[in-house]
């Protein structure tokens, strides 16, 4: 598998570390409900198809990336800098 890092170009998957679904970027406020926190920490969708997820270019530029990947084919659909998505 290869991921096109916006900073480094297309690189082999061995350079990257997977964290999990991109919903991890949406951290609840400290006073959010227990259910909201439970959702955030533990509950995930498991789609067969496009899936937004967070990858770390740990063996490259250290960027956190938001990657849309088809879980059926491993096709990488889009890659963006997580930082730019948030600001």
């Amino acid at each position: 598998m290869r991921i096109e890092c916006p900073q480094c170009g297309a690189r082999d998957v061995r350079e990257f570390t997977y964290l999990g679904a991109a919903v991890l970027a949406d951290r609840p406020d400290a006073d959010a409900t227990t259910e909201a926190w439970q959702d955030y920490v533990h509950l995930r969708d498991n789609p067969a198809g496009p899936h937004d997820e967070l990858w770390h270019h740990a063996m490259g530029c250290s960027a956190w990336l938001r990657v849309r990947r088809n879980t059926l084919t491993h096709e990488i659909l889009t890659v963006t800098m997580a930082q730019e998505d948030r600001t």
Binding site: D12, A25, S62, W64, T87
Partner: protein
């Protein structure tokens, strides 16, 4: 028998090698198989199960039978296909799966018992008793049925791993691949063409066609020469593309020096390549399939295309009297080529009743081969005549042509299923099954040379192609002979017959995947390249379905076997992982240190002196130095992260449970980090060096994890914070100086006073050591008055030597990890033995460190019910009088049975302190309320029960008077 010149043979160059200890002479360019055929040796191996005599069937990598062990001793390689192995001077080859000799094999008795050894025999027979399987049945079966053997010694020779990138990858260098490479190469694309054979050409070397007005083999040579001249084209021969993977990445194995008598210095045996290609053309050709008839496995019976390959490439006729058995026009070519070379053709047997080959040879159409004879090689055969009756044919070689199977394998590696085409009676690749890959030529079912060239040119941008033959495919499917007795072999390596498929069907193993596993059809080293289609056809007949409804089994990588050593490359032994050495490593070597691995780091564990013979003697002495005078220890391996910017304090407030924003400049604070689920991730110190400048430390083990998590927090959770940070673990050498004399040591070194006013406990001070700027932290992991002194790494070696000299002068010296461990347990300091991922801040007694004044990672979830309170296992100390405690032991109440329901907790760290005796840190249910209680530490592994008392985890100086100085 060598009957003429071969396009690949250097007739002048004799090559001498040995087979089973006997000298054999071949010619340069021969494969092991062609050299043996040239010497009239048809018998090449014994089959896997019945030990039947077998000869070579193919002239390529799909060979099921002609397998050999090549080399001797540690360099011995098993299961090498004689059709692929090039001979070299001094090569040592041995037959496999036979004893005492290839010609007289004792286990050939299996063949006489074959009616009892049919498919599923092992499953049914060796069911009971179950315990016998591992100890008795399996070893016996393996001995009887195995193929080649490894030496068991450390392998000799290296393998490499490498990457290649290209615009266009072309797999296969036959007519389609060559034409595509020429077309694309001329336009300047970065082309990589890989072929598993020793040179480009494919079947152009193995036929008598004309191409572009010259012999096809000559055209191939010209094309190869042009490709060699193009700087943008890389030609990789002896390279098999073995797998298709995600991201347009392909695996390939290159045989670099397996064929060389004396490889160049430093050359690997082979290289495993990962090739990344924007586009890929699969031009891997097709495999000719066999026809099943009784006793169709005798040496001398082979693919008609292989007969032509041996004739044209090596000038070898596989027999002196050859018969041809075919269901398509390709068989006729074989007759022509043999006759042109002066080889006698005894019969042309065509299964089709309504064809007129028009060859000058005894021809029987609408006929079938119904019996063969010859103990160690074919002598004669019987054919059934169309009107009934049999005819005797004398032949020592039978060339069989059952049609062609496009090599669809790579297109199935990413879950694609091939598509059946009735007109050619074969499966072809499904378009788009591998992103970026297109199959062309014979691999796509386009079998004529003209079609192959056209497809190659078109796939690479279009262009002129040379004139070539364009014969149509005239094939009438014919899979196996019916209505006759005798075993008809489908899988020639695993000894699977038509009858075995019928048995599988009868016993309801009808899905192809079940049939494959029940009969082992296609599970041998050739992965069914020759046998799968025949098996599918028989199953289709039995179930009354068309072949495409039966489906195919799943082709998986690798296409051909790859040595496991090639996948490892050089990443084994010392090169399995990088080594990280501390700045004091050189000195540690000089002091005879033993080491402990901490992640990739090698940390000095103890420094033996005098008559010390055990680690404990050394560690106890080193502990004594720290408690009584001064010790010096390398703590560089702890993770160091330099954090700067106006947003630094906010980031640290988010990461740490404590409020780091209130930390004053020049001060250090102990900090705890949680995971978002509320459990402890790591601990360390945080020092504030300037208004917006912090240096934090992590544990050695978690340095990478913490750094990645900080990146996550800064980039994903708080992208607006103006903060930057970088790991400086490798940039700063850091040494602990600990013990009552530590202040004296450093005052002498730094030539300045270090009283509490200058540097209080948990303080930071920039210092000068000569001309070198350093950092001095007053922190303690031993409970003593202690400091950590950091300098740029290049000065580390010099500094540790000075520190050791000064420590010696004060009655101390170096201490290692074993002493450090005793010191920290005495003081109740935790490591990742305690914060192992399942404990909360409250469990380790640090519940109050989670600041109520702010949010932090993990705070909300750490407040969940069940994560604090009396039911939790809490950190305690244990003291024993009668024996050492061991980490991993479980805690039980006195007199309680050691069972899961009575379990009260477990020991995480233990030591025997030279001054305080047997100590341990443990997690015990409601432990903080149970100080003073007598319990038992039960170690089921070592079979010990040690009585001990629950105490406070801080065994020494609970008020911290020593380290506060």
């Amino acid at each position: 028998m060598r009957v003429r010149e071969g396009s690949r043979i250097d007739a002048e160059r004799v090559v001498r090698f040995s087979l089973n200890g006997k000298a054999v002479v071949g010619r340069k360019g021969d494969t092991l198989a062609s050299a043996l055929l040239a010497n009239d040796q048809r018998l090449m191996g014994r089959s896997f199960k019945y030990h039947r005599p077998r000869g070579v069937v193919t002239a390529g990598s799909e060979e099921p039978n002609a397998l050999f062990e090549i080399g001797t001793g540690a360099g011995q390689v098993p299961n090498v296909r004689g059709t692929v192995q090039e001979i070299f001077d001094g090569m040592v080859a041995r037959s496999q799966n036979c004893w005492p000799s290839l010609e007289r094999d004792a286990l050939a008795i299996n063949d006489l018992m074959s009616r009892f050894l049919s498919a599923g025999f092992y499953y049914k027979t060796f069911m009971w008793p179950q315990a016998f399987w591992e100890k008795l049945y399996e070893p016996i079966i393996r001995r009887a049925a195995g193929l080649g053997a490894l030496s068991g010694d450390e392998p000799v020779g290296d393998f490499d791993k490498a990457w290649a990138h290209c615009d266009l990858l072309i797999i296969g260098g036959g007519p389609a691949g060559l034409m595509a490479a020429l077309t694309a190469g001329r336009t300047g694309q970065r082309v990589l063409i890989a072929d598993e054979d020793v040179r480009l050409g494919g079947r152009l070397d193995a036929e008598s066609f004309e191409l572009g007005g010259m012999a096809s083999t000559d055209w191939a040579r010209e094309a190869a020469a042009e490709l060699d001249s193009l700087p943008n084209v890389r030609v990789m021969t002896r390279t098999t593309v073995t797998g298709a993977y995600d991201g347009r990445t392909f695996g390939a194995y290159e045989r670099v020096s397996e064929h060389l008598a004396s490889p160049p210095a430093g050359a690997p045996v082979g290289t495993f390549w990962r090739i990344v290609a924007d586009r890929t053309l699969l031009a891997g050709g097709a495999h000719e399939r066999m026809i099943a008839f009784p006793d169709n496995d005798r040496p001398g019976i082979m693919q008609a295309s292989a007969v032509r390959s041996y004739l044209h490439r090596y000038g070898v006729a596989p027999g002196r009297k050859v018969a041809v058995f075919t269901n398509n026009d390709d068989g006729w070519r074989t007759v022509d080529d043999l006759q042109a070379a002066g080889v006698e053709v005894s019969a042309l047997i065509d299964t089709r009743p309504d064809v007129e080959p028009g060859r000058d040879v005894r021809t029987v159409t609408g006929a079938q081969v119904v019996a063969t004879r010859g103990r160690l090689g074919l002598e004669s055969l019987d054919i059934s005549k169309p009107g009934g009756g049999r005819q005797f044919i004398s032949a020592d070689c039978l060339a069989v042509s059952g049609g062609w199977n496009p090599s669809v394998h790579l297109t199935c590696h990413m879950n694609g299923r091939p598509i059946w085409r009735d007109d050619i009676a074969a499966f072809v690749p499904k378009p788009g099954a591998v992103p970026g890959l297109e199959a062309i030529g014979a691999a796509n079912g386009a079998f004529s040379t003209h079609e192959a060239l056209r497809a190659g040119a078109d796939a690479a941008g279009g262009g002129e192609i040379p004139a070539a033959e364009d014969a149509p495919v005239n094939v009438t499917p014919f899979w196996h002979v019916t209505g006759v007795k005798g075993r008809q072999w489908l899988d020639l390596q695993n000894d699977v017959t038509v009858k075995d498929i019928k048995l599988a069907h009868q016993e309801n193993f009808r899905s192809v995947e079940h049939m494959k596993r029940y009969t082992t059809l296609g599970m041998a080293t050739d992965q069914g390249k020759l046998s799968n289609m025949g098996g599918l056809a028989v199953m289709a007949e039995l179930t009354g379905q068309p072949i495409p409804s039966v489906g195919t089994t799943t082709f998986r990588p690798p296409y051909t076997p790859i040595p496991v050593a090639a996948l490892a490359g050089r990443a084994h032994r010392a090169h399995f992982a990088p080594d990280r050495y501390t700045p004091s490593h050189q000195l540690s070597e000089e002091r005879g240190a033993s080491y402990v691995e901490a992640g990739l780091w090698h940390r000095a564990a103890w420094f033996p002196q005098g008559n010390e013979t055990t680690w404990k003697q050394s560690a106890d002495r080193e502990v004594g130095w720290v408690r009584g005078a001064v010790g010096v220890c390398d703590v560089t391996t702890l993770g160091k992260i330099d954090v700067q910017g106006p947003g630094a304090r906010d980031l640290l407030d988010l990461l740490y449970t404590g409020k780091m924003s209130t930390l004053k400049e020049g001060r250090v604070r102990y900090g705890l980090m949680l995971r978002e689920d509320g459990f402890v991730m790591d601990d360390g110190t945080c020092a504030r060096l300037g208004p917006d400048h912090y240096v934090i430390t992590t544990t050695t083990a978690a340095a990478g994890e913490v750094m990645a998590y900080m990146d996550f927090c800064a980039q994903v959770l708080k992208p607006d914070l103006p903060v930057r940070f970088i790991s400086t673990t490798e940039q700063w050498a850091q040494f602990a100086v600990a013990g009552p004399q530590s202040r004296a040591l450093l005052e002498g070194l730094l030539d300045q006073g270090l009283n509490d006013d200058v540097l209080p406990f948990m303080g930071y001070l920039p210092v000068q050591i000569g001309d070198v700027a350093g950092r001095l932290f007053r922190i303690s992991f031993s409970g003593e008055l202690a400091y950590e002194l950091a300098v740029p790494t290049r000065y580390g070696d010099a500094l540790i030597r000075v520190l050791e000299d000064r420590a010696k002068a004060l009655g101390g010296g170096l201490y290692g990890m074993e002493a450090l461990n005793i010191l920290r347990i005495e003081k109740g300091f935790i490591t990742h033995s305690e914060i192992h991922g399942r404990v909360t801040a409250d469990d380790i007694g640090f519940g109050r460190m989670v600041s109520p004044a702010k949010d932090c990672i993990g705070k909300v979830m750490s407040q969940r019910p069940g994560l604090h309170g009396a039911e939790r296992q809490q950190l305690v100390g244990l003291r024993a009088k009668d024996g050492a405690l061991k980490a991993g032991a479980h805690i039980f109440g006195q007199g309680k049975r050691a069972s899961a329901e009575n379990d009260q907790g477990y020991i995480t760290s233990a030591c025997t302190s030279p001054t305080l005796g047997h100590l341990a840190l443990a997690f015990v249910v409601n432990g903080r309320a149970r100080h003073g209680e007598q319990v038992v530490a039960h170690d089921g592994l070592h079979g010990t029960d040690i009585a001990c008392e629950i105490v406070d985890p801080v065994f020494m100086d609970p008020d911290g008077e020593k380290m506060r100085g």
